[in-house]
Amino acid sequence: MAELDGKRAVVTGGAQGLGLAIAKLFIERGARVLIADIDEAGAKQAADELGDSARAVRCDVTQAHELDAAVQACVSAFGGLDIMVNNAGIEIVKPLFEHTEEEFDRIYEINVKGVFLGMKAAFAALPQPGGVIVNMASLAGLGGVPLFGAYSASKAAVVQITRAAAIEMRPTGVRINAVCPAFVNTAMVDRLKPIVTEMVGVAFDDLAAMKQGRLGTPEEVAEMVAFLASDDSSFCTGGAYVLDGGLQAGML
């Protein structure tokens, strides 16, 4: 029996990168997945490729009604919702004081408010007990990262909102955890490589190799999410689980 047999999940930002890897692994482990993404065409294409166990819906996570609709779409398609993965997020990589006010607001709106709205929409549909929420935070949410000032602040907010929600919801039997990956081989990291290299003065790949051994893979992040979504993690709630190849363990 696969660990997620019969489970029904929504993955926001599921059209590409980490979200897509999560959707794929969930289906491999027996779940059915609704891919919710602001890129509607991308979400549809991903769902087509994943087959009968996947559906797609357009979802802008800054809009409460679109998250409610995504949850409803999962319930209509699969008969319920067991797992909510709030994965959608954006990055802005530049010196802190070069962030415009609009950029700062935007990163908070998507990365923080989007998780808040996603948890709220999901909670109304999740089984009590047994429902699970996994929020995509970042290692940047646990430590300062130059050039990622607004991003890391938003991810720290995800870690803290996860903790508060987990404690408040514990009596219902709904578990809520956060995942904190370091640099992972995704389009997001490809975009920031040249920026970091230019501003830090060290080739990004060399920096990553020194700090975390290598880049992580989306599949590795998906494994952590799948563990937290499964009954294997039945005593885990309010946690922030790190995957960083040893980055945080080392000082240099």
């Binding site: 039997g173 294997d232 993690s233 946690g239 960083d244 040893g246 363990a249």
Partner: protein
């Protein structure tokens, strides 16, 4: 949160891997040995209590037992050497053996301090010291240190236990960065209070020495802070994840399972 007890059906996550679990004669160590066996590992059940180790091993297909006092460098080295000669290698080491009993710091004898730190900290060092070279020689693998949430915040009366567990977390970090290039991942499992003998045995002492009446005794405090006690089997599921390839990018980190205790300041 629904409790998980009993040995879950495995999915072959540790197929063919040779694993040593110390302190596996009972409690969390026993649950880890059983879970690893269910996942297809070749399990070496080790405990200072030879009879207990033998009995646990007899319930796990293919498992063997080796008595070991983890305070002794010679015995830990022999544990690793015998495992390698019996099974042709070593891939997973779980330094789990630990002891603890409540004593206030100001009345703690030095011998008491040494007794706890020598098992809980020195023992983990020795397992890494002698286990890691064998894992490297076998092509890589994982070390899963069984730590505690008390490595991160204090519970009164177990200062020696906590200092040792904080030391284990530190050793986890050093080992993770030193061994990364050699294909050995090192992580720590940090359980909260579980309903194991170690915890139930000290409950009366805690209630006698601490003002817990208003909270409903030890059980009331645990209900408030963790929701409930954890189970040894739940700790074992985390130990399976960290030993398996599924956690291949996890290294040097604390993996907390505590029902949310550490997530709240209250």
């Amino acid at each position: 949160m629904a409790r998980v007890e009993g040995v879950p059906q495995g999915t072959g996550q540790l197929e063919g891997k040779v694993a040593i679990i110390t302190g596996a004669g009972k409690g969390i160590g026993k649950a880890i040995a059983e879970a690893y066996g269910a996942e297809g590992a070749i399990v070496v059940v080790s405990d200072i209590d030879e009879g207990a180790a033998k009995e646990v091993a007899s319930g796990i297909p293919g498992a063997t037992s080796i008595a070991c006092d983890v305070r002794s460098p010679e015995q830990v080295q022999a544990l690793v050497d015998q495992t390698v000669s019996q099974h042709g290698g070593l891939h997973i080491m779980v330094p789990n053996a630990g002891i603890g009993r409540p004593v206030p710091l100001v009345t703690m004898d030095y011998d008491e301090w040494r007794a706890v730190t020598s098992v809980n900290l020195d023992g983990v060092f020795l397992c890494i010291r002698y286990g890691a070279p064998a894992i490297i020689a076998s092509g890589g693998g994982a070390i899963v240190n069984i730590c505690s949430t008390t490595a991160q915040a204090a519970v009164p009366l177990i200062g020696h236990y906590q200092a040792a567990k904080a030391g284990v977390m530190s050793l986890t970090q050093t080992a993770a960065v030193e061994l990364r290039a050699h294909g050995v991942r090192v992580n720590a499992v940090l359980p909260g209070f579980c309903d194991t003998d170690m915890v139930t045995n000290v409950k009366a002492d805690f209630e006698a020495m601490l003002p817990l009446e208003a909270m409903g005794g030890m059980d009331g405090v645990i209900a408030m802070k963790q929701g409930r006690y954890g189970t040894a089997q739940e700790v074992a599921r985390m130990a399976v994840f960290l030993a398996s390839e599924r956690s291949s990018f996890c290294n040097g980190s604390p993996f907390v399972l505590d029902g949310g205790c550490r997530a709240s300041l209250l």
